[in-house]
Each structure stands twice: as structure tokens, then as C-alpha cells.
Symmetry: C2
Subunit: 351 residues, 2 copies
């Protein structure tokens, strides 16, 4: 039976990407060698890394002022790297708190400076994106999280920022058009819209770096990774390759603009089905609804039927995060509209 | 033409491992889902992680006093993590300098304390392992590198250590028997004898941790990774899976003891051929010769012929590191003796 994988991450990837990645593990481009047993300094791999970086630049229309690097450690390592690279001695930064992941980012940053939480939706169980707040100008940077996978909220607009603007886009990068000029640092773990776990993308405006006056270990220093073109040490070759393939797939699909249109359509189908069934209730309302993670509850009397229908139709990964309960359909770039239609049918049948 | 991959890393892996890894990228254990698109919290992946860790314990006979964790960032991130986790405020550590990698480890550690280099083979272009040195007892730890890939030297014996003993075993772990009781912390990037790039193994005695009195960011804190069983955040799922498969292969081959016997035999074949050809000269002599990386020079008049024969016979990755020049045959666990015989034939024919 075909599986429809609505998992939140690591999550669904395009079938073509899986096929090519699988082949490369045996024989990379008919070289007679596996992708994972060649030197990262060899021409074939350097080309893969270069292509991955240039696809990022092309797909997001990144200005020359910004560098693109691939790192390891996930967004979680970025939580401390951002602070260590940007907070000056005795400096401070401002954060919005929109859920578990921004809370973790705040906690790590506190080891490096004075962190002010200028807005939070905690009192509303993180079911909305805070909007009425003022970003101070006497800070080293402002940090926000563009999409909150656990709660299903997403920033539709980004605030004007009088300081350095940092954004965790782990779960919605390449899913919609963004103006990179508005941001000084964007980071994203790869395992949602960009590839497989093990690679982390950082897009950073070069001239914000090297200003803290403090020494940074080489593996945590963005400047070093930029200088060494993401090859300070052996990069996670397989994860870089899968990112490159996925970015090529994004390009082949028409780029980020085309995917945004499809993602909007996919999300509308699903939210409409939920809104139109009296036994279902979306956790988030209005413009804060995420196009990537659709969170909802099902009335107790119908949840058994809903889960049975999911199971009978090959739907997996739809249980909500343990923190917020209920259900969550993650519908990243690679989720085909056909799978959404299967889920919509099931929602319609849960009566 | 069959390729014989003598690259130093990322390097050759067992064919069976590549085959299984390739299949899992499409369909993990007939689940209908790819290894790289399932949740790391799902039962199938938790089992993979548990099996990888238990194989490490079994193959190296690790005592209950030590924990086994899988991290990201390669050995290079460990260079600073070791220091940050072990050096007390105002504390110091002692290092031996046996080449580029230990020099890098020393440089990173200096950000955290007073680092004393108690022995170095730099004056001999790192062609030997220093032996006559005394490890001070008033240090937070002693650090050494067991095998030096660039120069082809290897520590045959480890010194008695009056303090905490730390060893970088990136390029020879699982290639020979070691007494883990002698070590307090062992670390290794996966991409030589253990798997593919993107995972790093750390074996650490629990009771040496948490003693610096300094706060450590969560992603750099061994205690946190132990507590969260290497799942503090999304682990590099593919790299962990390949490590698990490779460790299972080691077990199936008879374990580390059996591989040590084979590795000794393989290295002897190659060193003998080099020693018996007057146009060839091994860079390292006697007991310091590495069983993993065989470094040698070829007389100018014969190097063209040697390279031609290599090329005609599918031998790749044999060029020496740019620092030391000449040639290097890396013959890790997965290198079959048949490939060594092909190289030995070529050496014999280079007359």
C-alpha cells in the first residue's frame, strides 16, 4: 500500500530525490565509486557542494552581500552559534517567543548576553503569532522563528527591524518567496523542505560578522566556514548531496514562487475540509495558520473512526506533537496534492 | 573497470553496507518508507540508534562506567568540546603533537585553558611517534592522537596516564583491540572505519563530566547528549544507519580482534612490497608504521610508470596529502586484501 507521510520531520522528500540519492550510494554518476566513499576534496564532490550553494543563491535570489554555508548540528547548534557570533561583550538581543523552538533559542542565547523577550504567545498556548511589539534599536540582533511546527503557526509578514535581523526558517524555507535583503542571518535545519537530517543551511550578511571582539572556536565561527567554503572539515556528504538534489527539484518545479502557489492551494484544501466538518477544529485561526503544519483536533467520539480511516488508507505521521496533542498534518514542499486529497476524503468521511 | 579506492577519507566502505544503505534510502525494511523520511522518534529509527550504540559497546567491550554517544560536527568540533567539557577555570591540559590534527586540537583547546605540549615529532616532519615524555599529574587531561593519516604513523602502545586520558581515534577505531578502561574519553569521526561522514562517536567515562563549574551550551555538553541518548535534536539519521550497518559488518567478520589480524596481514603485504623495491621508500620506519595509512615515496624516474599502472588497474585515491607529498595507500577495515594484492603487483612491476 502506498504510504502518505504527513510526518513533521525528518519528513517526506520527492520520490525522484530518493531514487537518485539511493543510486549515488552505490555509484555516483557512473564513476564506479559511491558518493559516500569519495574524498570531499575530489572534483565530483566539490561540484556537488558548489551546486548546492549556487542553487540556494538562485532560488532565494540572495544578494552578493550574503554568504551561503552548510554546517552540521541542526538548528539547535545555531541557537548558541548566533549568540556567540553576534552578541558583543555585555551586549543584548531581543527575541519573540512563539513556542518550544524559540524558547530553546532564547535559553542558549542567555549564556552569551542579556536576552529580552519582547513578545510571546505563551499565554495563548502559542496558537497565534504576536504582532504588536516594538523592536529596540540598542540590541545586537532581533530573532524570530518563521514557522512553528508543533503549534502550526507561521509568520505571514516580518517586522521592520532597526537592528540585525535573524530568523530560524527551519520548517518553511524554500516553501515561499522571501526578501533575503530584509534578513541578516537566516538558518534552517535541512530535514523539512531542503533535504535530510545532518545538514544545516546558514545565509548570513558578511558585514555583521567579526564584531564581538571575542574569540570563537573555529567550528563555531561563521567567518571561518565562509572562508573555507563549508569545507573546514569533512562535510556531511550525503546530506549535502540530498539537499542539492532537492533544491534542483525545487528549481525544476518552477522555483519557490511556483511552490508557494502549490503550498497555498494544498493548505487551503486541508483547512477548508477541517473547517467544514463539525467534528474537526483547527488549532490556529486566520492569518497565523501555517501552510506547512496543519494542526487540528477531532472530537473524541470521532477520533477512533478518523484514525481507522487514516490507517486503512496508508496515512502515517499524523499524530500531533506530544506537547499540543491532537493531530498535525505536515505538508511540506514534497507532499503531493494527491496525498492531501486522500486525507481530505478521510476528513469528509469522518461523520 | 573495478575501482580500488585507497582514499584517506571519506573512504571505502564494505559493499554489503553500501547495498543495504542504498536500499534503505528507498524503502527501510519493507516499511514502504525511506530511512531518511521517517521521524527520528519513531520505533524503527530508535531501534537503529540503540543497535548502533550497543554494537559499539559490544565490539569494544566498553565498561558500564562509560557512555556511548553519537554527535555531529566531526572530530574538529570535538577539539573544542573536549576542552570546554573538561578544563576547569584556570586549568590546564597536556597534549602530544603528532601532526596537523593534533595541532588543530591544541589550537582549539587553547581557547579554554593553559595547554602544554609535552612531546612533539614536528622536528622530524612527524615521521615518528614521540615516546619519551612524562605526563604531568596536575592537569585536567592528557590528549593524544592514535593514528596520523597524513604521515602514516600510529601509536602502537599508549602511555600510563596519571590524569584523565583523552584520545582521538578517528582513523583507527575498530581496526584493532583497545582496552577502553585505559581511556576516559575516546572520539572518532565516522568516515574511516565506522561509516560515512556526518556522525561522530564519543565514548566517555561519565564521572569525569560536570566538573568545570562553567556553563556549557546544550549542544556542546556531553552530559546533555548522554542524558538524551544522542537525540537532543534530530540526529544525522543516514550517517547513524551506515555506522550501524558497518559495525554489524565488523561483528560478522569476527569482531575487532579478527579485523586486527587481517589489517596486520594487509599492511605487512604492502610494507614488504615497498621495502623490497629499491625505487620505493616508506616514509615511516619500524614500530611507528600505521596499519591504516601506508605512506611512501617513489623515485622520480619511476613515478610516471607507477601512476600509469595505478590508473590502468583502477587504483584511485593514492596521492599523498599535499602537506607530505608522495603517495599514501589508506587500507582501512573495508579494504579487501584483493585490492592490496593489485597494488602490490603494481609496486613489483614498477622497475
Amino acid at each position: 500500500m502506498k504510504k502518505h507521510n504527513f510526518g513533521a520531520g525528518p519528513c517526506i522528500l520527492p520520490v525522484e530525490v530518493l531514487q537518485k540519492a539511493s543510486e549515488a550510494v552505490i555509484n555516483l554518476d557512473n564513476s564506479g565509486l559511491s558518493l559516500i566513499e569519495i574524498s570531499h576534496r575530489s572534483e565530483p564532490f566539490v561540484k556537488i557542494m558548489d551546486k548546492a550553494r549556487s542553487l540556494v543563491r538562485e532560488l532565494l535570489d540572495i544578494p552578493a552581500s550574503h554568504s551561503v554555508i552548510f554546517l552540521q548540528g541542526g538548528a539547535s547548534l545555531q541557537f548558541m552559534m548566533i549568540a556567540q557570533n553576534l552578541i558583543k561583550k555585555g551586549g543584548k538581543a531581543a527575541y519573540t517567543d512563539t513556542g518550544v523552538w524559540s524558547s530553546k533559542a532564547i535559553k542558549e542565547a542567555k549564556l552569551f548576553g542579556n536576552i529580552e523577550v519582547i513578545a510571546s504567545s505563551e499565554n495563548n498556548d502559542y496558537r497565534n503569532i504576536p504582532k504588536e511589539y516594538i523592536i529596540p534599536s540598542d540590541i545586537d540582533y532581533f530573532h524570530c522563528t518563521s514557522n512553528n511546527t508543533i503549534y502550526g503557526t507561521q509568520m505571514r509578514h516580518f517586522p521592520e527591524c532597526p537592528s540585525v535581523m535573524v530568523c530560524d526558517m527551519s520548517s518553511d524555507i524554500f516553501s515561499r518567496e522571501i526578501d533575503v535583503n530584509k534578513f541578516d542571518l537566516i538558518y534552517a535545519g535541512a530535514q523539512k523542505n531542503m533535504g535530510t537530517a545532518g545538514a544545516t543551511l546558514v545565509i548570513v550578511r558578511d558585514d555583521i560578522l567579526g564584531k564581538t571582539g571575542l574569540k570563537i572556536p573555529i567550528m563555531l565561527d561563521y567567518k571561518e566556514h565562509i572562508y573555507r567554503e563549508s569545507m573546514n572539515n569533512t562535510p556531511p556528504v550525503f546530506a549535502i548531496y540530498v539537499s542539492m538534489l532537492t533544491l534542483q527539484w525545487v528549481k525544476d518545479k518552477g522555483g519557490v514562487k511556483a511552490l508557494e502557489k502549490m503550498n497555498t492551494e494544498k493548505a487551503k484544501l486541508l483547512y477548508d475540509a477541517i473547517d467544514n466538518n463539525k467534528y474537526f477544529k483547527a488549532k490556529v485561526s486566520g492569518q497565523d495558520r501555517s501552510l506547512m503544519n496543519v494542526t487540528f483536533d477531532v472530537e473524541n467520539s470521532k477520533s477512533e473512526l478518523f484514525e481507522l480511516l487514516c490507517s486503512e488508507n496508508g496515512i502515517v505521521g499524523i499524530k500531533g506533537h506530544r506537547i499540543s496533542g491532537g493531530y498535525r498534518a505536515s505538508i511540506y514542499n514534497a507532499m503531493p496534492i494527491e496525498s492531501i486529497r486522500v486525507l481530505v476524503d478521510i476528513i469528509n468521511k469522518t461523520q
